[in-house]
Symmetry: C2
Subunit: 242 residues, 2 copies
């Protein structure tokens, strides 16, 4: 029985798990849990993930959620996964855990908080919160600076690696969510961080063609989301509102 | 050369790492990094952890930060650690990763956000933010409910275990920070969650006498911090301010 992977491609950790499975030739079935339609709250999905979030997996009777835990589990449970994704070496593995842990309260909190509070909240029936958006942007900028000056200082990929790990995939998929911003805002935020921009390109290239294929939904949704917010709240430009 | 463990016992992840080392008989040297005195910003400590946070470790030339990554590393690198702390079994290990990942954006965000914005911010020269404190308390309450109804539903310890793992220690040390609240507020928040309260007791007992010994600084600081906030802002009772 193939691994079941429960995802919504609009969710950045879902995309990381999907791309990882595709790149590594895992035999899996993609099951869409449409967050916009609140399918994560269905009784069927509650039995998979009682936290009502995507992604989650079911490997036979074994169920698991939280994308980093999933990426680690698949790396270890499926023999075809190349070792650079989650190295067996204790020190290298520890550094990957370190950057994955750091991610939660830094890059993810910043990027996801910014996008949610400038664009996605109304889709979930919540008001935009530009105060939280501003705080989130500050966390994001600090995190980008740490990526540029520390996490990417020793190599093309995170923590001095010459090949991508699960951490590269997780963090780059998070940053891809900034595609939903206007090109002007996205460039203003990202372009000062040359290593970060190059690393995003390198990670895309290392996971081609799956990276772009899995992100297609995001690229397509971009226009619709921005137009919907503009209709309700005016043009969602960060600089003019903060 | 003994493992160097850089901590401030007022920090909950620092305490988790310290208790873990003591319980498992690790040969280590505790190096205090006094956060109140901003010692985390010293050039010496920046070379250990450029994120300016505790805890961190140095095992010879190998340096590591983020408490979960540290607990996993020590579990694997030091042969004396009993296997229940970080089981080798793939599924059990995956569940521990899952709860550790969940912790970052849920229990930790709620508990740490609440304590910082009702008590600790002035000590760092920042204003109290009772709006953020209220949001944090809501996240904390939701997280306690998930602990009670999901994470602790199958056993004395997290994810159905009969013995504690690194996740139990990390999460219980986080909840111990609620000791800084008044007894009334602490009881109001915690007492509806019977399994959580019992689990905290079980974790303390499983790590005695080190648990109480390492927490002594927190118990001692409690009175001083509450009096200092009361002098500046009036009595720090959540109910009356929110």
């Amino acid at each position: 029985m193939a691994l079941k992977v429960y995802v919504d491609r609009m969710s950045q950790p879902s995309r990381a798990v999907l791309i990882f499975c595709k790149v590594n030739g895992i035999d899996f079935e993609e099951i869409r849990v449409d967050i916009l339609k609140n399918q994560q709250y269905s009784p069927e999905y509650k039995a998979i993930n009682p936290m009502y979030q995507v992604p989650a997996i079911a490997d036979g009777r074994f169920k698991l959620f939280e994308s980093h835990a999933i990426l680690i589990y698949i790396s270890c449970a499926f023999p075809g996964v190349a070792s650079h994704w989650y190295p067996g070496d204790l020190s290298k593995r520890a550094k990957i855990h370190s950057v994955l842990d750091w991610h939660h309260s830094n890059l993810r909190r910043g990027a996801a908080g910014l996008i949610f509070n400038t664009l996605l909240a109304p889709i979930k029936g919540l008001p935009l919160n530009l105060h939280v958006a501003k705080e989130s942007e500050q966390i994001l900028i600090r995190s980008l600076s740490k990526l540029e000056r520390f996490w990417l200082k020793d190599g093309r990929f995170l923590v001095g690696s010459s090949q991508p790990s699960i951490a590269d995939l997780s963090l780059v998929c998070e940053l891809m969510q900034l595609e939903l911003l206007s090109e002007e805002d996205r460039n203003r935020i990202l372009s000062p961080y040359k290593k970060v921009v190059q690393w995003m390109e390198d990670t895309k290239r290392a996971t081609a063609p799956h990276f772009d294929e899995v992100h297609r939904v995001l690229f397509k949704a971009k226009k619709g989301i921005r137009e919907s917010v503009a209709t309700q709240f005016g043009k969602p430009e960060l600089k003019s509102k903060m």
